[in-house]
């Protein structure tokens, strides 16, 4: 800070920063309220849930509700499937993208430009524009209701490929020259030289892609028809009665929602630095 700026901020009104804090805490409260409300409902019994005026304090039924919601929705299998899908999508996308970016940057081969364009154009082909035929492909492969069907089609990634390409281009040429002088082949170079340098990118991408895989809705809804292959985001619907004769157990629905949203939210909070880096760099 220059002396001038220091003098100015020293003269700033004392309530200025308090006002900023107050407004920011208000924003935190507004953004946090829906989750707080969902949590509160998940700890109440049905009588408290329908109470007027709404009861905004937690009650003592947390454990009972979560056990009941877990049992009723088969939460164990749902969470397991979501973990498998999110991990497989994140690891698969990163691996595939790293390999193709490596090929594009460190080799000259016929069709390099074509490969680059093929990958680029996938950006313009989100699931909805190819939904029926992709479903048919999965059916023909016999991949309906399978982890392969849930994950492999999501593994192509233009953004991750571009991110790795961008990163490899910033690595000085001398590194590859030195590796070649040492007699290291391309795979050795990728594994022992590039990989150790890429960890920050890998971590950042991993967080973003894990969240993406966990929260994917359209694809698992189509590909899975049996409850045992559902992911938690779509399996949750099972807790919501559609018949009208059944009493909606909102406390259990909220308990289920809490369990579905906790893993990705915890990942963001714990890996916040990587997450922000990943978000901002994948969009460049």
């Amino acid at each position: 800070m220059t002396p001038l700026a220091a003098r100015r901020s020293g003269r700033a009104l004392p309530w200025g920063s308090w006002l900023v804090h107050a407004l920011l805490l208000l924003a935190v409260g507004v953004i946090g309220f829906p989750l707080y409300f969902a949590f509160v409902i998940s700890t109440q019994d049905l009588a408290e849930v329908v109470q007027r005026p709404p009861r905004l304090l937690p009650s003592g039924h947390l454990v009972a509700n979560y056990i009941e919601a877990w049992r009723k929705s088969g939460m164990g299998a749902l969470l397991f499937n979501s973990f498998v899908v999110a991990l497989a999508v994140a690891v698969g996308k990163i691996t595939i993208s790293m390999l193709s970016a490596f090929a594009v940057v460190y080799f000259h081969f016929r069709g390099r430009t074509l490969v680059f364009w093929l990958i680029f154009v996938t950006l313009m082909l989100p699931i909805p524009v190819r939904i029926l035929p992709t479903y048919e492909v999965i059916g023909n492969l016999g991949w309906l209701n399978s982890y392969a069907g849930l994950t492999v089609p999501l593994m192509a990634s233009a953004t991750a490929t571009f991110l790795f390409r961008q990163f490899y281009l910033t690595i000085p040429n001398e590194l590859a020259e030195a590796a070649q002088l040492d007699g290291a082949g391309p795979l050795r170079f990728l594994w022992s030289f590039l990989m150790p340098l890429s960890w920050a990118n890998v971590a950042a991408l991993f967080v973003v892609l894990f969240i993406y895989g966990w929260n994917e809705y359209f694809w698992p809804l189509l590909i899975t028809t049996t409850q045992d292959m559902r992911t938690v985001i779509i399996g949750l619907e099972l807790l919501i009665p559609r018949s009208g004769t059944e009493l909606p157990t909102w406390n259990l629905i909220m308990a289920g929602a809490m369990m579905a949203l906790l893993p990705p939210v915890v990942v963001i909070i714990v890996m916040q630095r990587w997450f922000v880096k990943g978000l901002i760099e994948t969009e460049k």
């Binding site: 900023v20 193709s100 949750l236 579905a260 915890v266």
Partner: protein
């Protein structure tokens, strides 16, 4: 700059093979099929597809329901974008002051991004619940208007817009914060010396300087709202009441997978393809111009 390359004939092909295979099998072939199918009509009880030219498109463009879904898509996408980009900018500008605890605030504002829009929708479904929800309860003190999303289309739209914007505002805050922190200290100091107050500094300096990021975020948010809104609508409103929240992606799924009208569904896919190509090109045009301070 000339880059060092490895002399190897077949290895590069092996390296790009997984990506290219997934791309061809699950992206290009199906997208081509969408284009192809959009020109055919399949008889409902099996049999050979009949070539109908552009009939599927003509039928869509003169169809009132389809027109409604296009309007709903735009209303939804622009509302979500306006709410989450404007909200994100205001909050990020506040958080960018010289105050303590920036790390805390950033985390405390960012975490909803981890929540799937569908799950957010289920939470807001209860918040808006006509009988038990807190929003209708509070509204009842203000007005006698029945704030019931099961009956009023626009209330249902507000529900899904708010739920979707809630999950996405943190993303915008993160981008705006990165942009704001890149504005050189000296610029702001110069403005202070010239006697500019905080509001004047914001409108005269901050807004123009981060306008590339703002445009960029607007496009990204539009794409997000256009294509990732399926979950919240499927989980909460099912397009209703009536077809008040039926957006293009949802209608396409409903016509294809429930109605089994494959030709029309494929034609809707092709129209969406045009939309996404347009938006992506816009995104790259803006990204090219994006100023890095």
């Amino acid at each position: 700059m000339k880059r060092t390359v490895f002399p190897n004939r077949w290895l590069p092909y092996l390296l790009v093979l997984p990506q290219v295979a997934v791309t061809l099998v699950f992206f290009f072939w199906p997208a081509g099929q969408s284009l192809y199918l959009s020109l055919f009509k399949s008889p409902p009880f099996g049999g050979r597809d009949v070539f109908v030219g552009l009939d599927n498109f003509r039928a869509l463009l003169t169809n009132r329901d389809y027109y409604d879904s296009v309007v709903n898509s735009f209303v939804f996408a622009f509302s979500v974008t306006a709410l989450s980009v404007a909200g994100g900018l205001v909050v990020a500008a506040l958080a960018n002051q010289k105050i303590r605890g920036l790390g805390f605030y950033r985390t405390a504002l960012l975490w909803p991004y981890g929540i799937a829009p569908a799950v957010a929708g289920i939470i807001f479904l209860f918040i808006f619940h006509p009988a038990y929800g807190i929003v209708p309860y509070v509204m009842a003190f203000v007005t006698t208007y029945e704030f019931n999303w099961l009956l009023k289309g626009w209330v249902a739209m507000v529900l899904i817009v708010v739920a979707t914007a809630w999950t996405h505002v943190g993303y915008n805050i993160a981008f705006f914060l990165a942009g704001l922190q890149a504005i050189p200290e000296s610029v702001m100091e110069a403005a202070s010396v010239d006697g500019a107050g905080p509001v004047r500094k914001f409108t005269a300096i901050v807004v123009p300087l981060i306008s590339p990021i703002t445009f960029y975020l607007i496009v990204v948010n539009l794409v997000f709202a256009f294509f990732n809104a399926f979950g919240v609508i499927h989980a909460v409103t099912k397009g209703g009441p009536g077809n008040a929240t039926e957006i293009m992606v949802f209608k396409l799924w409903q016509d294809g997978f429930i109605g089994l009208n494959l030709g029309s569904s494929a034609a809707q896919s092709v129209i969406l393809m045009a939309v996404v190509i347009l938006l992506t090109m816009l995104q790259f045009k803006i990204a090219e111009k994006k100023v890095t301070y």
